[in-house]
Amino acid sequence: MPKVLTVKHMARCIACYSCMLACARAVYGDYSPSHSAVQIRTRGGLQSKLAADVCIGCRDAPCAAACQAGALLPRPGGGVRFVRNKCSGCGACVEACVVRAIRLDTDGRAIVCIQCGTCTRFCPHDVLVMEESAADA
């Protein structure tokens, strides 16, 4: 089964944003870490714990079901494929996502995880990994 992005060791995160920069660079062609499908957040200042807002790779992805433009397609193993030029920017997926992991970029198009695993290659502490989803294990 194809693997999905998994937050494995959140407590090891150093907030280096390497994952965000990788996603922005490789998937969205942008220098800005705001244009990344994974978002590392503090829970209230840098002395607090960190959290990752990221697609959990749903089976029967509700975001895909909500997308009327045909831009989001369910992906085998979980999560979605994204056909960017079909995205109308309606924001239906943003509302539908069960973990609120989709945002719209400045052009009004979705920033959504496509389960490519690029971010995991740049994480120095294996916080993010690609794994088969628990349902398959």
Partner: protein, 580 residues
């Protein structure tokens, strides 16, 4: 300067509450960072007015590599130093550089003085001036908490603020950046305080599309791999800079008890190893840095009988452990943390604070100053007096504290005792009593920092001691090259990754057409630019003196001789004179 052809400068006038953005294409040849900031600063510098005068500019600059290449995380600040009266330059990490990049500014030029305390919100739409009367008087921590809650942009913003030390004009007040990093040294905090500028929130999450993805990704991935996979960066993510405590102690180069000694019997207990084993709870990184050198430890203390504890987390580094540990004879991590906590909250520079207190301890012993004027008893190894004195430096309850708050250069001019003041180039010393190259380097470096030219590293190279011309050559070459790195926005910990060929490739991948020779030329030009500005501010290398203390306490190279250092200094001066 991601746009290779221009530099976008945000001009802010605090007195008039006005701002504008200017494109300065002619500055593109300075790349960014300290190059652009130095140039802008010299345009606005008023040599006849003191550092705290409203018209003096403060300039922040980021570089072409900022956030878009690994470890390009630093923002340069250039200002007139209230501590030395001349060249002020400082660097801070964490999110400021990223926030400026994606707000769309290469440099920020601040001038004027607000009528009442203000804080600024800077984003892609420009600047808002906001009332900071409610923040005035708050410490760095609480100021940060308020602004986190009041302002937007979580994750993509930076909160830059001063504490009470900056508000009250302590000449070595620092600036806190995102809780765990700082603009330290040379008193930028006091300059902000004099401008009635309590804080700045910079928020940037603008899209910047990558023009040539393929070329860019190839170079990015190679640098990232070198940063995480090789041993190049081991020193910084392992023990961090605190690993220096034991190595410098073993060399006989760890300044101890106001540099009366060069080894500390408590070194083991305040070593990087001890801090890590007993207190380290996590590491943090500046955005775009996979190394994560920021070591955060847990400081837990009992406040009452019966297992009543309070605890906070604090970032530690070698310089803090040296200045607030061995230099004051303190050998308990808890004591060092207590002073770090105070220095952080008050917004003081840790090195200058420790070195001032070390001097005061000895001055008290010698009868030069008196307990009554300090309201505290200062003794090496005794925390309580030092804690009280740190607050004294900021609150200035007695005239003596007001004098000490101006830094040791000015304080000893009034009180005497310069022989045992650990000053170099009128700045309190960094923690490396390694030998001639360190002393010469900090004395002659543009900002009188060990980081100008890394003399402490030369002292550790065998054989160089017999070659005075070689020492001078190397110091100048290093300072010139660091000017380039500091114009790119790169963290100096990554200097072994960013060698000249690599730098050229990163720039070319961004579409900046620079070759190795252009870079070398730029480094030299910035070097001269700073020298010229220093001269306008009254600095003259032939007037510098090196206190007696450096020749009394043995170093890694044994006991130093004044005539040998004098010879090095005159060779250095001759070399500088020949450049003009």
């Amino acid at each position: 300067m991601l746009d290779a052809n221009t530099v976008r400068v945000l001009y802010i006038d605090l007195g008039r509450r006005e701002w504008r953005v200017d494109e300065r294409p002619e500055l593109a040849r300075y790349l960014g960072g300290v190059g652009v900031a130095a140039k802008l600063f010299t345009e606005g510098l008023v040599p006849d007015a003191e550092a705290s005068a409203p018209e003096q500019p403060v300039v922040l600059g980021i570089g072409p590599l900022t956030t878009v290449f690994p470890l390009a995380t630093k923002t340069a600040a250039v200002f007139r130093s209230p501590l030395t009266g001349e060249w002020g330059e400082s660097y801070a990490g964490m999110r400021l550089a990223m926030a400026l990049r994606f707000a769309g500014y290469d440099a920020v030029y601040l001038t004027g003085r607000a009528q009442r305390p203000v804080y600024l919100v800077v984003d892609r739409d420009g600047v808002s001036f906001k009332d900071a009367r409610g923040l005035w008087g708050l410490d760095c921590e609480e100021t940060g908490r308020c602004l986190r809650e009041w302002e937007q942009g979580r994750g993509f913003r930076s909160i830059v603020r001063i504490g009470p030390a900056g508000e009250r004009g302590v000449a070595f007040a620092g600036v806190n950046v995102d809780t765990v990093r700082h603009f330290g040294r040379l008193g930028l905090g006091a300059v902000m305080g004099a401008k009635n500028l309590k804080a700045m929130v910079v928020h940037g999450e603008k899209s910047i599309p990558i023009p040539d993805r393929r070329a860019y990704r190839a170079v990015y991935e190679e640098i990232h791999a070198r940063a995480v996979d090789t041993e190049v960066m081991e020193k910084y993510h392992g023990l961090g800079t605190a690993g220096n405590v034991l190595s410098l102690n073993a060399m006989g180069a760890l300044p101890t008890r106001n540099l009366r000694e060069n080894r500390f019997e408590g070194a083991e207990r305040i070593s990087g190893e001890a801090f890590a084993q007993k207190t380290l709870i996590r590491k943090l990184a500046c955005p775009g840095c996979p190394v994560g050198c920021i070591h955060v430890g847990l400081y837990r203390r009992s406040f009452a009988e019966g297992h009543e504890y309070e605890s906070i987390t604090l970032a530690y580094d070698y310089e803090l452990i040296y200045a607030l540990g061995s230099f004051l004879g303190l050998s308990e991590p808890g004591d060092v943390y207590a002073l770090i906590e105070a220095v952080e909250a008050l917004g003081l520079d840790a090195i200058s604070s420790g070195v001032v207190l070390g001097w005061a301890t000895e001055a008290l012993e010698k009868g030069l100053i008196h307990t009554a004027d300090l309201g505290a008893e200062l003794r090496f190894g005794d925390l309580d007096g030092y804690l009280a004195a740190l607050h004294g430096l900021v609150e200035q309850p007695t005239p003596l504290y007001a004098v000490l708050a101006r830094g040791l250069h000015r304080a000893t001019a009034e009180l005497g005792g310069r022989d045992f003041a650990c000053l170099l180039g009128n700045n309190e010393m960094a923690g490396y009593h390694t030998g001639y190259a360190f002393i010469l380097g900090q004395t002659v470096g543009a900002r009188h920092s060990h980081l100008c030219n890394a003399g402490y590293a030369l002292d550790q190279e065998p054989g160089l001691g017999e070659d005075p011309e070689g020492v001078v050559d190397r110091l100048i070459a290093e300072e010139e090259w660091r000017n380039v790195l500091n114009s790119l926005g790169v963290c100096l910990f990554a200097r072994n990754i960013y060698d000249p060929p690599t730098v050229v490739r990163t720039l070319n991948a961004l579409g900046v057409p620079a070759g190795a020779e252009d870079l070398a030329q730029l480094g030299a030009e910035i070097f001269d630019l700073k020298l010229a500005a220093k001269k306008r501010m009254g600095f003259d290398l032939s007037h510098v003196t090196v206190p007696r203390r450096y020749f009394e306490t043995s170093t890694l190279q044994g006991t130093l001789r004044e005539d040998v250092l004098g010879d090095l200094l005159s060779r250095y001066r001759a070399r500088i004179a020949a450049r003009a």
